[in-house]
């Protein structure tokens, strides 16, 4: 017997909502009205930064804001050309760190989540419980010792050191989610794979991972955002050289004591938000199923 993972429909990608009878006009207006207002509130800040990003700094702080006022793409040119700090190096650093974190965190939490979902082994309960407790550690208590350890390991000031630190934040939560997700994949599949002569790792790699794509997508999204937006560790652990900063640290140069260059900051913010929004758009259809099974069974 051969097993074709893609033919096994385990996951209902997007279940139909409850069937409803036709609702009254008033209810319809209320429903759409509420959703529209909520969407507006969700989107407006992003929209407002987008508008501001085209204005010169002086126009961004007018007391009667207009949608367009001397708008141009000058801010973007200034930011990208390096007039306002090494934006492109920061960007490169952030991309590298976020991608490394994503790959490592997804891989680690997938193997751990799978082991926790499929095997009973001594120490499993304490392990899962310790993952929950790890979420509670405030960085304040870890930051000095971590600094020392990275120094000892020769990773202080290195991007890889930061990646490892981010993994400790992302992996426990991701493991919980993926364990829940793996729980929803029937055990029969593992057994069939074993019959075909696959090793446990082969089953995991060739059968389970492809089936768990929605769960993996959510995990990747979460890990990426953890690394992409983190401020405290990045400020503490990267060297002071301008080129080694991440975006979260570097962008603070725009928020000076006396004067904030809002136009330039807005342009930089839009450039930073784009990769995150792209990643988000790619995974958004998996978000509901992926997160749900994790949270339900977690």
């Amino acid at each position: 017997m051969t097993l074709d993972a893609s033919s096994l429909k385990v996951v209902q990608a997007d279940r139909k909502p409850q069937k409803r009878k036709a609702r009254s006009l008033g209810a319809s207006i209320g429903l759409h009205g509420a959703l529209a207002i909520a969407s507006l509130i969700a989107v407006f800040p992003v929209f407002w930064v987008l508008v501001t990003s085209f204005k010169p700094d002086a126009r961004a702080v007018e007391t009667t804001p207009k949608l367009f006022n001397e708008s141009s793409v000058d801010n973007y040119i200034d930011v990208l050309s390096g007039d306002k700090g090494s934006f492109l190096s920061w960007f490169g650093n952030s991309v590298l760190i976020a991608l490394m974190t994503t790959v490592i965190a997804v891989f680690l939490s997938a193997t751990t989540g799978y082991a926790a979902s499929r095997f009973r082994f001594p120490g499993k309960r304490p392990l899962m419980l310790s993952f929950l407790v790890v979420q509670m550690f405030p960085f304040a208590v870890l930051i000095v010792p971590l600094y020392n350890i990275l120094l000892t390991l020769g990773l202080q000031g290195q991007q890889f050191g930061l990646v490892l630190v981010y993994c400790t934040t992302a992996v426990p939560f991701c493991t919980y989610m993926l364990k829940g997700y793996f729980d929803t994949i029937p055990n029969d599949i593992d057994e069939a794979g074993r019959m075909d002569g696959l090793s446990p790792f082969g089953v995991f790699w060739r059968l389970i991972l492809p089936l768990a794509r929605p769960g993996l997508a959510v995990t990747a999204f979460y890990a990426f955002l953890t690394a992409w937006g983190e401020v405290a560790f990045a400020s503490a652990f990267l060297s002071a050289a301008d080129e080694s900063k991440t975006l979260a640290v570097g962008l603070q140069v725009f928020v000076q004591q006396n004067r904030t260059e809002w136009g330039h900051l807005a342009a930089a913010s839009i450039l930073v938000a784009i990769p995150a929004i792209v990643v988000f758009y790619l995974v958004q259809r998996f978000l509901v199923t992926g997160l749900a099974s994790g949270a339900v069974k977690g």
Binding site: P45, A115, A140, V141, V144, V255, Y281
Partner: protein, 306 residues
Amino acid sequence: MRKFLDRYWYAYAMVLPVVVVIAVLVLYPLAQGVFFTFTDINEANIANPVLDRAATYVGVGLRNYLNVLSGDSSYGSFWSTLVRTLIWTFSCVFFHYTIGLGLALLLNREVRGRAVYRVLLILPWAVPAFISAFTWKYMFNAQYGIINQGLRAIGFDDPPVWLGQNDWALVAVIVVNVWLGVPFMMVALLGGLQAIPGDLYEAAEVDGATPWQRFRHITLPGLQSVSSTVVLLGIIWTFNMFAIIYLITGPNPNTRILVTYAFERFFSGASRDYAIASTYGVLILSVLLVFASVYRRALRKQGEVW
């Protein structure tokens, strides 16, 4: 032993990397951090390999804890900061949950443009937190911020100075954090709603249950396991949320929570006070551990296995 390894090898091999990373980068630093709380360690007396200087800090017993727990204002007014942290945490999580649940219920209906609404509503989650912080700081500005412009336009002649040294600053950061956290709750609860079997609702409708009764007796119990997980996580995350407050208001005593004070103590000030920062860290962890075990016990009483 042989047999033991034969049986569990795959499981241990798969778990091992995570255990190693967590042990090295979390448990060991935690132990060291706890040790620091009994010393007077700071920037000036820590070992510094770069300058080739040995550590000269000394043990001080429980002095750090006594100083912090006395609530003295030169040590961050622990008790009033704790109260503010609790206000911040519970108001944020309350609004996250209620708004998230409301939107999830709306999105779970058959409604035209569902996919579009969903994408738009999740957007705040996709924007990195420090970008959101800058954005809202801009919008909350007292003179040129769009929020006060809007308030003036609809007749409030004297809108508040949001991010100044007053309690409006706390309101402002709570608003931002609510905006930021609702999508996660909404998505998790939407997933939970979709896992409730539809025939339950049909049966209830046949029996003549009102919409409120259906919500009360089918939806809420059906969501219980999702809810208990996300609420606990939400409380832990919010309690330790640092970036939003720190980037929006800086070291403002009116928005100070335990974590931001620990960071202040760690980073700013002439002599980076690692000992007090670590003491705060340990106290935060203790509060959360106590809370989590009480929470867990309460859930267990309701028959929830967790």
